[in-house]
């Protein structure tokens, strides 16, 4: 079998699951982690906005509605770079399979919807290595809206209330999520997302992901 070509020079593999809120990313991440671990590979998981440096500052600032579009972008970038430098890169260097819940595509979608210049945002994340595999959980907006409302409920920033699309909570939410989806759709091709129909069953989605990952593992790239 032809050896898989990694997108970076590190020992390990970088695999990303992207998708909007409520698309089922964390469920799939957990399943994928278990199935890879079962094959005796080292796996590390890192989620969006979890850095020791700044994650709690972001939560606090969001709670108090202190953020404008620029500080929003920069804080998330700082969180990402902290995790990149302290968790992701060291793990990749040591040969781990790094599974990420969201990557800078999330920032590109959200920040651009908030009116930031896309080149400015890309510059913030230019130090990010290209993933070897990017799964995108594609969800039609109506299903997505129901899922979010049925689980976490509408939150201020996830509804884009800070952008001022509408004073109506639901309307704002709908506009914001639609705009985020537009951005993701635009990126599918640009970044070569493996787009998966997010309305399929958990097992089906997992099996699609598992097959893609298995192809890479079977190519012997981590031996």
């Amino acid at each position: 079998m032809k050896k898989f070509q990694k997108k970076h020079n590190y020992e390990g593999l970088l695999i990303v699951i992207e998708g909007t809120d409520g698309s089922g990313k964390s469920t799939q991440l957990e399943l994928l982690k278990r199935s890879i671990q079962a094959q005796s590979y080292g796996v590390m998981v890192s989620e969006w906005k979890t850095s020791r440096l700044i994650a709690n500052v972001i939560d606090d600032a969001k709670d108090r509605n202190l953020l404008n579009a620029t500080t929003y972008s920069l804080l998330y970038a700082a969180d990402f770079v902290d995790r990149l430098e302290n968790q992701i890169i060291p793990a990749l260097q040591s040969g781990f399979i790094v599974l990420l819940d969201r990557y800078y595509y999330t920032a590109l979608a959200r920040d651009v919807v908030r009116g930031q210049d896309i080149e400015w945002v890309k510059n913030l994340y230019e130090c990010a290595p290209e993933p070897d595999l990017i799964f995108y959980l594609d969800m039609p907006v109506d299903v997505l809206l129901k899922r979010i409302i049925g689980t976490t409920g509408l939150n201020y920033y996830e509804s884009g209330r800070d952008v001022g699309f509408s004073t109506d909570f639901y309307k704002s939410f709908e506009i914001y999520q639609n705009k985020c989806l537009e951005q993701y759709n635009r990126m599918k091709k640009e970044y070569n997302f493996k787009s998966i129909d997010g309305t399929r069953s958990i097992e089906e989605i997992h099996s699609i992901m598992q097959k893609e990952v298995q192809k890479i593992l079977d190519s012997g790239v981590l031996y």
């Binding site: 600032a61 500080t71 920069l74 804080l75 700082a78 770079v81 430098e85 210049d117 510059n123 130090c127």
Partner: protein
Amino acid sequence: MSRLTEKHNLPGTLVCVEGIDGSGKSTQITLLRDWLKSSGKDVIFTEWNSSDLISQTTKLAKKKNLLSPRTFSLLHAVDFADRLKQVIGPALKAGFIVLADRYAYTAFARDVARGVDPDWVRKVYSFAYQPDLALYFDIDPKTSMERICSNRAPKFYEAGMDLKLSNDPYESYMIFQGRVIKEYQKMVNEFGLVKLNALDSIHSKQVTIRNMLKEVLKAKGVEI
């Protein structure tokens, strides 16, 4: 696309002072503020790393040595962006004279001295307004150190100890601040910073600065 290299065309006036610690910039801007206030002008003062949003976090992270050159840069950018949107921008739109103790140039000097790409950090700050007057107080690292560290050792990041230039904080300070100064000197041409000799007397510098500011204000139709 960078605002930093375009005239802002807002009613207000933006003045910033730059230079390494101990160059006397804070003294000068305080004198300037008092003079402007007593002349009845609307003045707002803002200083580096002072936003409600993030400055405490940054200070704590510095104490714990948690920052890499890039996160150091981004956290200071957060602070700056917060003040720019909350304080500087609105004040300029309302016609205030905004006095900034350090501005984006501080980031360009320090971050690049830490090895951050010059072009990257300039892009990060591309939302910053161009000052109407940007003063740079030129000093040598030794005099700066004598002034700053007369009764305390240089702090970790201030001395660039994160770069492992030397185990001795005083020596590290000299090397690191030497690099910062080089970056400032390059920016005299790049951004039109007005270079002042930090070793001149407080009075003579203040006279020069007031004259320059009078010219800037006059061009905007403001007499003082």
